[in-house]
Structures are given as C-alpha cells and as structure tokens.
Chain length 642, copies 2
Amino acid sequence: MKDLQTALDGRWAAVRDDVRAQLGQLRLSPDPDASIEQYRAEVAEAVAALAASGRPRQGFDPAYGGGGDVGGVVAAFQMLGHGDLSLLVKAGVQWGLFGGALQALGTERHHERHLRDMMDGTLLGCFAMTETGHGSDVQHLRTTATYDADAHEFVIDTPEPGARKDYIGGAARDARMAVVFAQLVTAGPDEVARTHGVHAFLVPIRSDDGAAQPGVTITDCGVKAGLNGVDNGRLVFDRVRVPREALLNRYGDVAPDGTYSSPIDNETRRFFTMLGTLVRGRISVAGGAGSATQKALTLAIRYGATRRQFADPATGEEVVVLDYLAHQRKLLPALATTYALHFAQEQLVTQMHELQRTGATPDEAAQRELETRAAGIKAVGTWHATRTIQTCREACGGAGYLAENLLPALKADTDVFTTFEGDNTVLLQLVAKTLLSDYGRRVGRLDLLGKVRFGAGLVAWTVLERTGARAVLQRGDVRDRAYQRWLLAEREEHLIAGAAQRMRRALAPGADQFAVFNAAQDHLLVAARAHVDRIVFDAFAAVADQHPLLGELLALHGLSVLEADRAWFVEHGYLTAARTKAVTSAVNALCGELRPHARSLVDGFGIPEPWLDCPLLDGEQEPSVVPAASAGQAPTDLAAVG
Amino acid sequence: MKDLQTALDGRWAAVRDDVRAQLGQLRLSPDPDASIEQYRAEVAEAVAALAASGRPRQGFDPAYGGGGDVGGVVAAFQMLGHGDLSLLVKAGVQWGLFGGALQALGTERHHERHLRDMMDGTLLGCFAMTETGHGSDVQHLRTTATYDADAHEFVIDTPEPGARKDYIGGAARDARMAVVFAQLVTAGPDEVARTHGVHAFLVPIRSDDGAAQPGVTITDCGVKAGLNGVDNGRLVFDRVRVPREALLNRYGDVAPDGTYSSPIDNETRRFFTMLGTLVRGRISVAGGAGSATQKALTLAIRYGATRRQFADPATGEEVVVLDYLAHQRKLLPALATTYALHFAQEQLVTQMHELQRTGATPDEAAQRELETRAAGIKAVGTWHATRTIQTCREACGGAGYLAENLLPALKADTDVFTTFEGDNTVLLQLVAKTLLSDYGRRVGRLDLLGKVRFGAGLVAWTVLERTGARAVLQRGDVRDRAYQRWLLAEREEHLIAGAAQRMRRALAPGADQFAVFNAAQDHLLVAARAHVDRIVFDAFAAVADQHPLLGELLALHGLSVLEADRAWFVEHGYLTAARTKAVTSAVNALCGELRPHARSLVDGFGIPEPWLDCPLLDGEQEPSVVPAASAGQAPTDLAAVG
C-alpha cells in the first residue's frame, strides 16, 4: 500500500520533490505592503532563479539542450502553485506560452536561433493573442500581418482600437519579444491580396535597454484583482516591419514572392490545429488551480482542526469547529473533489506526455481527445478552485481575510483562471461540440438494424422515465463505486443523446441555427459538465485502490457529485426520491468517517511547511472549558454576533 | 404606475437622492496604486466630510441634536455602497457600531457627555467586541473588567493572548475611544467576586496626539483582502483603569460599593438583549451588500449588452453576449434576486424604524422578530452578494479582473461581509433556533384535539410524500405567484416540522444533546434558508404590482429559488419530475422576456453615473460583420482560447 503522498505524487514524484526543495530555496514571500513595482521585480528575479536551475529546459527539445520531459515540466509547474501564483503565471508565460509557441509553431530556423535563449531566460517573451475586442473568439482577431513582397517583410498593424493586444503577461515590463497572432494577408504573383487566417509572428517589442521598439506602443494594464507580480500590458503596432522569417511557419508559410502554402487547406482547421499544439498552457493552468486549492484546504482544515467555538453543553468544553457537521460539509467534499481532480490532472498530463514526447507518433484522434479533456478539466477544475478557496476563506472567518494568512492572495490570484486560457463557459461548449460530433459518428456508423434498435432505445428510455421504472430496475448502495459510476455514465449518455436530438433541428431547412443552438445552450453545458464529471471519476477510480482512504474519498466525491445534481437523477427516473435522501445521508456519514483523517489527507499534498507558515496556524489552542453556569444552553444555542 | 427607480427608492427616496448628490461631491476615487496609508487618509477625510454634512446625526436622539430618522440613516448608509465600501464600513464603525452602542447601551451621563462629539465626528470611536479566540461566541469572550470598589474604577485587562481584541475597525489609526466588551467581575459588600457576563465600557485608547494610552497596546492588522481604507487593528489591555461611570449601564450597573444590579436577571437573556439593541449594524451590512451587488450587476449587464463575441452564422454579425442564454442565466436570475432582496431590506428597515424611532412603544416580540429577520436577510443577502459579484467579474472576462474596472474592489471589499457582523452559518442557526421555538409554542398551544389532528397531519404528509399524491393534488402554473408562494411556504413549514421532530430527541433522558444537534445541523440550516426565502418572496410580492416588470422579476426570482432547490420539491412530493423541468424551461423563457429590459432594470438602481465611470463601459462597439468565409460555422462552433 502506498502512502497518500506517494499516491498523489505519482509518476513525477522525483520532479515534485526537486521542486519542493527548490521552492524552499526561492523563498519568495510576497510582502503585502510592497508596491507593485517591487513585487514585479521580486517575481522577475525568481523567474531568473528558476531559469538558472535548469528546470524549465526539461520540457523542450533535446536537440537544443532540452530534457524532453514534457509531463515532468508540467508537474513541476503545477508545484509552483503551492508557492506564489504570480511566479507560476510569469513562468507559464515565459516557458509555457512564449516558449511553447516558439517550439510548436516555429521551425528549425526559429529553434536554432531562439530556443536556447528562451529556455535559459536570456530571451524573455510574451504571448500576444488576446485583443481588447476578441478574447474568446480569437479566430476573428483583427491585428494584421500583411506581406510586402518587395521588401520581403511582414507589416504588423493594429487597424482599430479593438485590435489592441490586451492583458498580455510580461508585456508591461520584461518581455523583449512577442509571439503576435495576426491575420496573415498576402498575395502571390498575379493574385489579389487575401487573408489566410490567424498566424503567429515573432516580433521584437523592446530593445535590450528596455525601450519600446519603433512603432510599438506599450501600456500597462495596471493593478489587477490579483497576480500583481505579473506585468500585464497592452501592445499597439503601427505598421511594424519584421522579416519574412519572423512567421512561425510550421503550419503555413509565405514564399519570398508572396505565395502562401500550408499542409492544411481548410483555414479553420488549420487555425484549430495550431491552437491545439498549445494545449499545454491550458493543462498547466488546471494544474496550478489544483495546487492553490490544495493549499487553501490545507490552511482551512488545519485551522478548523484547532479552532474551537461554542461549548458542548454536556461537558462545557468548547467544540473544535471541524467537528461540526456544517463545517465538515463545507470542507470535506471539496477535499474529496480536489483529490479527484488531482488524479484526473495526472492522467491528463500523462496522456499529453505520451503524445508530445520526442519521437511520439502523431495521433490526430488522441490529440483531439486530449484537447477536449484539457478544456473540460480546466473549466471544472478552475471553477472548483474559485469556489473552494472562497469557502476556505469564509471557514477561517476574519483571520481568513487578512493578507498575512495567505488565503486572500490564493483567492485573488486564481480568480482569473476561470476566464483566461479559455473562458470556462466557452470551453465547456467546446467539449459539448466534440461530444456531439463523436455521438453523431457513433450513431452514423450503425447499420440499419442498429439504427432501428437505437431509436427503440430512445423510446424505451422515455417510457422508463415516465414510469420511474428505471430507478426500480437498477438499485445499488449509493456508496458503491460501480453504482455511482453507472449513474454518472448514464447521465452523460442521456444528456448527450438529448442534446443531439435538439441540435438536429438546426439542420432542418430554413432553421435559425443560432436560435436552435441558443435555446439548447444550457443543456449543452450540462452535458459537457456531466462528461467531465464522469472522466474525473474514472481517473480517480483508476488509483483509488492504492490506499483505503482514497476509496473513501472517491465515494465522497462521487456522492457529492450525485447530490449536487440529484434533481436531474430524480427528474429522469434514475433515482427515487428516497434514494436521493440516502445520498445526502451518506455524504454526512462519510464526512464523519473522514473527519479523523482530515489532517493526514491534507498532509498528503506535501506542501512544504515554510510555504504554509502564517499566523493562522500559530493558534493551536488547548481545550478550554466554559463556566458551567452559561454552558448549560440548549445545543442549538450556538449563535451570536461576530 | 411608479417608475422602477421610484419603486426601488421607496419610503426614503428623498434621503437617497440627497446621498446621490452628496456622493457626487465626495468623489472618493480610490487609486489602486495608492499605499494603504494614503487610502486610509483619504477615507478618513471622506468620513470627516460626511460628518460635516450633518447626515449621520439624522439617526440619533433628537434630545441631543439628532434627527431621529432611524430608517433614513440606514437607507443613506446603504447608498454609500454604490460608492466606496471602505468609506461605508468606516462610517458604519463610527456611527453604526460605536455611536449605536453609545446610544443604545449608554445612559444620560454618556449621551450628555459624548453623543454630540460622536455625531459630528470630533470623537472617533471603535467597537471592540471580537477577540482572537472568540468571534462567533462572543458571550464567552475573555477580556475582563474587574471593579475596584476602593478606587471606584474598573480594571480592563487582557488575561491571555486569545483575549486580544482583533479585527477592530478604526483601532489601528483613527479611533480615540473604544467601546470594549468585557466580562464584568465585581463583588458587593461581603460578597465573593463573581462575573455578571459581558458588558460594554467606554475606554480611551488614544490621546489627542494619537499616542496609545498607557496600558493599551495597539497593533495593526495590516493588509486585508479588501477594505484597505479601513484601519483594522488589535487592542491589548494591561490593567487599564477607567472610572465607574465608563460602564455603559443601561442593562446593568455597579453601585459605588460594588453592588451589581440589572433590570434583567438572567445573564444570557441580558446579554442577548444588549446585543439585540445593536441589530442596526447587521441590517446596515445587508444593505451595503445589496448596493455593491447592484453596482456589479450594473457594470456586467451594461458591458454584456454592448460586448459582442462570435458571429451568428446566418448573418455574419457578431452576437451581443447578453443575447446568449448562458450569459442571461448567469446575470438575470441574480438580478431578479437582487431586486427581491432590496425590497426585503426596505421592509426590514421600515420594521426597525417603527420599533426604534423616538417615542415608539417597546415590543419584545416584534424586536425578536426583527432580530431573526435581520440575521436571515444578512446571511442570505451577503452570500448572494459574494456569489453574484464573482459571477459579474467572470462575465466581464479579463476586463473584469482589472482594478480600473471596479469589479475587483467590489468583490474583495464585500468578501468579509459573509463572516463579520455575525458569521452567516451561525446566523442561520440563530434563525433556525427561533423558528423551532416559535414552532414549539405553536404546537404547545394546541389543545388535545388539535394535537391529535396535528399528529395526523404529519402522518398524512408522509403518506402524500410516499405516493407522490401531493404533487397531483396541487397543481399550478409554475410562473403563478400564488403557486410559487404556496410551494415556498410548504417547504418552510415541512422543514421546520421535521427539524422539530429531530431536535425533540435531544430532550430524551440520557441523550447526547450535541450529537443530536450536530446530526441535524444541515437540516436546520436548510430550514432557516427556506424561511428566509419565503419572507424575501413575500416582501417582493408586496410591491410587485407597482410596475409590470416587477411582476416578471418576481416570477423569475421565485422560479430560480424553486429551481435551485428543485430536488427537495421532488423528493418531498411537491413537484413531479415533469414539473421541475417546466421550472427550468420557465427560467429560460423569462430570461428571454426580460433581456430587452435589462438596461432599464439596472438603471432603476439609480447609481450616479460618475460612480460607474470606468473603461469597461467605454467600449460600446458597433455591430461588426465577420468575413462570410469563416462565419459559416456550425452554431456550436463558439469555442476557442482566450
């Protein structure tokens, strides 16, 4: 049997241990009184220290001195989330977004020239995709890169205020070069100029002395809700010229005479293929959110296990707040889901590693599945982070509101994770779209007999629902893993089939496609969510036998997913009303069973103690006895002012 | 028919208009780059300007130059929530907590000496109740005030680290005097010294030059998640002596010889009576949370009504994001609930005004109901604020994360509202306790026949539930007001009756009272929540005929409450599965119906335009057409990266 930390550390345990040691040395401790400039300088120094450690190069091409350990570097990145999140994001910009685009979208000429400097941090870059007017719909951003065949140069231009590059990490202070995403416009000999869609260009934005390059206007996004150690800025290009070779030309190239060529004919497919190679950024964000959640839970659970409030009337002794059911319900199901998401993340990273490691065979279907999974886990994981860290703050009361106790920064820094690297709602839509296509393919592949049976299946479904017979046919212990899994899989399948039926209407002649889509949008989002819930459950189930507590946590996670959507299961005849009440009771019971292990469970995350050092955890109190005169209150007498 | 703003402004419309004009003059615009000291200084100046306006004195005793308009001053306070929340909290500390305690717990000798200076801000005070070790359970705080009969003085002392006064607004920088809550210890002639429970004392903490008084150690809580214009601090007392007259002696007094006397014998009852007089603070917090929520929704809805993203495939025109169902679902039900809470707040303030206005007849039952209602609305309203402002931030994407766009401060500043002035979970427990007592009284009053019928009623309930017959017996349009009200009232009654049954077990001989209570804690909290939902609904219903849009908003509010807890209604046989699906459809339909009115609905809040001025609202875009080549995507093709 593995211990919890070994199980959690998984395949890249050695990397994680390395980073733990390294983090201790970095000892970045953001001073809440520091000015934004001081904080940015401190984070920039920490990035330099990370670069000096050689760790970031581990993820890049061995041909240029990289380590080729794609998964390891994402696991290492994730560990930074136990420390300071500005450092995590700043490192993510340099080696994930900028470095990742250089590696994946560039070719030998770019790698040869820039990869080493990027890896060792002597070339600091940024990733200029988002514009003020287009954040989610980046396929339609407005910056242009027009090829000038006479000069053999691209002219990068911001044609309107909405085309300004916005929120770009690293742009305001440190980056020397930007990967700029722009609509490529070119004309071959005797052709009319036309756009070939969005492509990426290497554009120097600052000289070595830090001054903006001619034609580049850089402004500062200023103070943000969090992540104030990251220098987000805005870029406006006024006909900035870069050489033809600045085009990152792996998926599309322009010959000296202006002739455009690409291995992928369809413009949209080409664009999404390019984006797909950048999936590592999204996976990394999900990992960082997980680490921040683990840290918040560690703080709140350790505090809750020592803080006492209100006396037990029988003994006069004040009760540890984590012994209250309501407090357990706030923290323990969230802890179980945090475990589940950790293992789903580990599985995702492994999948990415196998696909992207040097020498791997390209596999379009697997790549597509990876992207869908990454989108779903990022959305669900970052929303879980926002909600859970908020709950942890509240569970620590006034102490949780003080910057010295770390929770405010965890909340504020991770807040943007739900909308950057893909807005979560848009990402779940992407998941839904893939599920619908896959479903269409599955159904399409059936022969005639299969289609008849399939149709009959749908009818049978409806009948089962109407009679409630389904719930009677399938019964199980609500804590049973196979039963939980069956419920989650049925929900997923049912929702996707229903969504497919609704969307089919959009194909009718004269149908208002947008109206059909929009009316079903909430249905699609729920279907996507159900899919993610099922794959997260499966990922946890795959490891849950490594430790008895993992089995219990999985049961609690499964129950809390069922409880949150129990209305759906009743509405669709999968659970009777009596059984959903059993779900609620089982959540309560499991909270009580896991309560004694709460401390061990958070210790399993292996967060270095110096990174948890704050006054919140100083206050371990001895049991204190309230004078008997006033302790004899009814047990509900637990309310007063704060 | 009233216009929306007239309906919302209600009884204290004139006061609200005054404050709007005044706010415009104050023009406090916190600079996100300002140091904490600068921000505190700016807020202190704004407090002085408020004092100079004479507005705060409107809430106090006319005998001392006050205006006696208790309700008006709370309405005015609430309006500050459309401006800067540090100013709101700082004003609340001075005139709500400090001034309120002075007025309500003090007697003529205190009023005569301090009331005028407090009102005009020449005496700045703080409210030193919470301690590091006791926040929710303030009945058991540990600071002592021991009477020295020889010197005719009280000795205020902090006997242990956990007794340190903590998070005290105004303590770190500005307050000269504190109302200190401490365990009163005294001995009459020939008595052994004993405690009489918590009492309040006026303790000077700073001299006029700002230095801490001898024996008082003041430290700074430092940077917080938000509200950094408020100087929260910690107070430690080392045998600080104050005269006998420093005791705020309305509910308990000490004679020169040390004899204790009180109009209320029972120590716990006395303490909660004292606390009850301070209910205005809790009501004010609920109001401030409501204003902040209104402002966040105004920003997000106005942005959502101009921001466009992704093209309609039929027209190539980019779609306004508020036209997406998912976006409407994020914002419009929250808007409806914000309206509902506004009217519930108005009703609460009116109720308080009638009870507390000069010359009102004391009414213990009404006071008790006011306290319960205040606790419930504060809990539900502040959680709604936290959730809604978070959603608004996310609905504005990256722009919502920038300090310049106001949403980050709204989120961070209101975050602590869920745990100060009573932790929300503890407050809902207080509500549940009152509901149980009232229920017990109701049942107790029945004669024998009534009790038999009552018992039969419970049995009948169970039968109806088991057979699902209840849902068949009672049918209605899910949008119908009376039907929604019936459902909410039934849920409340059912949950309270069930909770009472469970709690009765605690009275059995040998029962572990704490265990019985704890096992039912989640049930109690749900019951309290159901009660608050019903009273909020009723408050909205009482005014909903003043404008047709109010009727639609009430329907949406009611539906969204039903939808959120639809599992419960099915589990307990009040709704069939088919009908809960109708609830979801009706939410979607109403979102669409209210969408064209979204701008008018937020304009109704009457937030002065200068307080909404931020780059987020600069960006009204013209409809923009996407090139037809790439617009012909399937309607689900709405996903990319950000």
